[in-house]
């Protein structure tokens, strides 16, 4: 009886710093991501200011491309990955599966404390000579390989590579832990086909991450060797800088691009799938009906995961890769729209004959569905190799990937925060502030990235310090000012969220164990959940995860997935 509590950590250090409790680690990830998110957003604001008012030359050209590079790196790897995948994943998986903790709690702690130095290295790179890495978040050599090519390719790029190596080590530990936990630590009766879709998406996400990250590790090591060991993995003969020919010979920059995108594309799904999973779970709770097409959703996730591993070349149509190979990648990539459309249909159809309770988390879930549609359809323009000739490196790409790996992920993480906040802290967040936050985030953010699609259609190219010296970019840059104003609104709106988050943690309305009348297992644990998650025995599962009945009386319209003996 109460075995778990007896093992509960007692000291501050073991409870909050070097904790092995998945919930504490999850929150550590989320708070770390929040901090890195503030840095990444500040960089975004500077980028927007420079694009909008180039005549003021707010930053230098070399600092501008450092900003672009570090904004992308920080947001992809140190904000979205950390918050949504590592943060919510850690917090939710054991609770939703009816487990005491992750399969390997110590490995879990190790993975968090491996990513902390990675964050510090990234931040430190702003302070070194030459500035932070400036070869784009994709770090294509030769630009990223040679200090002669750009100032940021000095020590800044080395720190960038070391940070990535640490991040990958951390993320791989996390992914292995997710897979082991999901396969081995489910409560009695929790078959795979009874898992909440959120857990399914973390499962796919972890598999993709573990399979696709190692090639990037290899690429990072090869790039480090090219930079410091005199090798030429990515450097061909005849590179001339300042009238001097470099001694490198025999390598090819295309190899790096293949290794990078072999990770880079699955990474998109590593990030976006959990966002979709969370959206499904929020939707079920507030639509008060079972998810439409649970089985087809699961199989669609599996198919999306598989396809995402064999389509990386669609980032490389105009790079000099054989165009016939590009044609294969084009045909395969657009197939992803089929399982994705099934997910879209199931999301929308989950509202059919529902009885919607319009609580705050539902705002975000509904908002996310429309963004999945907009971002998903935009992908077709880029996946079709012929139209990509025009769109490659334009703002259309910027708008598209921000919608998918930025907006879908962040909206669902915010919705998830409002939804699971009671489980994290035993309190609810302020509804008034939450609504203010939603409206001042959702409308501007969708407008920002829709407008960027229009800019891309008009021909505006990305990563430009100053667009105004080109006639063909005039139409596109005309939209820069409205976009920037909206970005400022969105950024300011997040202050409302941060305030609400920290104030509600201490002073929010006290929440019950199951404040939303949810069915999944985390709601059978106390709020906040104690060490070991359930004070007594673990729950036993006897039904599918979304047993809501919109025909029943409102207060008795759900049956929890499991019962605690």
């Amino acid at each position: 009886m109460a075995v778990a509590q007896e093992h509960a950590p007692q000291t501050f250090i073991s409870k909050y710093v070097f904790s092995t409790d998945h919930k504490v680690i999850g929150l550590q990830y989320i708070l770390t991501a929040l901090f890195m998110g503030i840095v990444g957003s500040a960089l975004a604001v500077l980028i927007r200011a420079q694009i909008t008012w180039p005549e003021k030359a707010l930053v230098t050209p070399e600092n501008y491309i450092s900003l672009v590079t570090m904004h992308g790196t920080i947001m992809v790897f140190f904000v979205v990955s950390l918050a949504l995948v590592s943060g919510f994943g850690n917090f939710l998986i054991p609770l939703m599966l009816g487990a005491r903790d992750m399969a390997y709690p110590f490995l879990n702690m190790l993975s968090y404390w491996t990513v902390v130095p990675a964050c510090l290295l990234v931040l430190a790179s702003f302070l070194v000579e030459g500035g932070a890495a400036a070869a784009g978040w994709t770090a294509y050599p030769p630009l990223s390989a040679l200090p002669e090519a750009v100032p940021g390719s000095g020590l800044g790029q080395t720190l960038w590579l070391l940070a990535m190596a640490l991040f990958i080590a951390s993320f791989t530990m996390g992914g292995l832990n997710y897979i082991a936990t999901i396969l081995n630590c489910r409560a009695r009766g929790m078959t795979l086909m009874r898992m909440p879709l959120t857990v399914w998406t973390y499962f796919m996400s972890a598999i993709l991450g573990v399979l696709s990250f190692p090639p990037l590790t290899a690429a990072a090591i090869m790039l480090l060797l090219d930079r410091h060991g005199g090798t030429s993995f990515f450097l061909p003969e005849g590179l001339v800088f300042g009238n001097e020919t470099l001694p490198h010979q025999g390598g090819t920059p295309l190899l790096f691009q293949h290794l990078f995108w072999f990770l880079g594309h699955p990474e998109v799904y590593v990030l976006v799938l959990p966002g979709i999973g969370i959206t499904f779970d929020l939707l079920a709770t507030f639509a008060r009906r079972p998810i439409f097409g649970y089985r087809t959703s699961v199989w669609s996730l599996v198919v999306v995961g598989f396809l995402s591993m064999i389509v990386w070349g669609h980032h490389m149509y105009v790079t000099g890769m054989n165009p016939y190979v590009g044609e294969y990648f084009s045909i395969a990539t657009v197939l992803i729209t089929a399982p994705f459309a099934v997910l879209g249909l199931n999301l929308v159809a989950s509202l059919w004959r529902s009885r919607i309770r319009m609580e705050v988390p539902m705002y975000w879930a509904l908002g996310t569905i429309a963004v999945i549609g907009l971002g998903g359809f935009g992908g077709l323009f880029l996946a079709t190799s012929i139209s990509d000739i025009y769109f490659h490196e334009s703002f259309f790409v910027v708008g598209h990937f921000h919608l998918m790996i930025g907006v879908v992920t962040v909206l669902s993480a915010l919705g998830g925060t409002y939804y699971w906040f009671p489980k994290m802290f035993g309190r609810k967040m302020s509804v008034g502030l939450a609504k203010l936050h939603f409206w001042t985030t959702y409308l501007p953010v969708v407008a920002v990235f829709a407008l960027m699609h229009f800019q891309g259609l008009s021909g505006l190219l990305r990563r430009y310090y100053d667009h105004t010296i080109y006639e063909f970019q005039e139409a596109g840059i005309g939209l820069a000012l409205p976009i920037t104003i909206l970005v400022f609104v969105v950024t300011g709106s997040q202050l409302v969220f941060i305030y609400n988050f920290f104030v509600s943690m201490r002073r929010g309305e006290v929440a019950s164990a199951n404040p939303w009348n949810g069915t999944t297992l985390e709601w059978t644990a106390p709020s906040p959940a104690p060490h070991g998650n359930w004070p007594g025995a673990l729950p036993v599962v006897d039904r599918h995860p979304y047993d809501y009945d919109p025909a029943a009386p409102a207060e008795a319209d759900f049956k929890p997935q499991g019962t605690v003996a």
């Binding site: 050209p61 590179l239 001339v240 300042g242 087809t296 000099g320 197939l335 080109y470």
Partner: protein, 272 residues
Amino acid sequence: MSTSGAAPRSPAFGLLFYALGILVVAGFAVGWLPEVSSAHGHGIDRVIRYLLLTTGTLFLVGCLVLGRFILTYGRGAPQEGAVLSERTQLLWAIVPVLLMCAISEVGVLVMALPVFGEVYGEPAEDAFEVEVVGKQFEWLVRYPGPDGVLGEVDHDKVHDSRNPLGLVKSDPAARDDIVLRGQLHLPVGRMSIVSLRSLDVIHSFTVPLFRTKQDTLPGYTAFTQFTPEKEGTFELACAELCGLGHYRMQGTVTVQSEEELAQWLSEQEPWL
């Protein structure tokens, strides 16, 4: 404690998605694409318009259905028969699968494949050949001169001001080569085939109004082909981050008649 008070209802939330669908689709329907001025460019624009039409329709329908569901089911009335059989749910999944496979593969295989042939297929017999070399941060253009042959180059001989492409003096074919900075002259109505190289990092040759874009990779020679349709000057830009001067790697493409081009070429001095 269970939820206190009546469940919050806001069916009007559905109007958000009506507005979103209509505004976004209307926004995309504005003619953002700049006027095209190459033969294959019309094909690229056709593919883009096809995708705008099909995905725009689907997005609008999706938003309208989403909005409608929220309006209808946001009122809190109990609903019977919400759960369909597994079989029916499976059958429903076939609809988006067939629809998206059709729309997307028609895009790639029916709409785009003929354009693929124009962009990447065998160049025309009489194609006009020219070399463009990217370096930080300018475009170097080389014409073969009267002998019609591009001479030998050697990267060890590259000197930014004296010999930017490293032409080899001992090669007679190199002695009449014409080298220009940032100016590309091409004939109208005849296919041009541009061979692309880079001296340092990756650049990308793009003339947006021609709908053409091809990276220049160091260590490789890439090719891009297109047929300019109108006389005039067009902007050449770099579309791959190449360093701090990426944004100012500007060039001009002058499209002129065969006679004017021949006249202009005859006035250019060989570099060496």
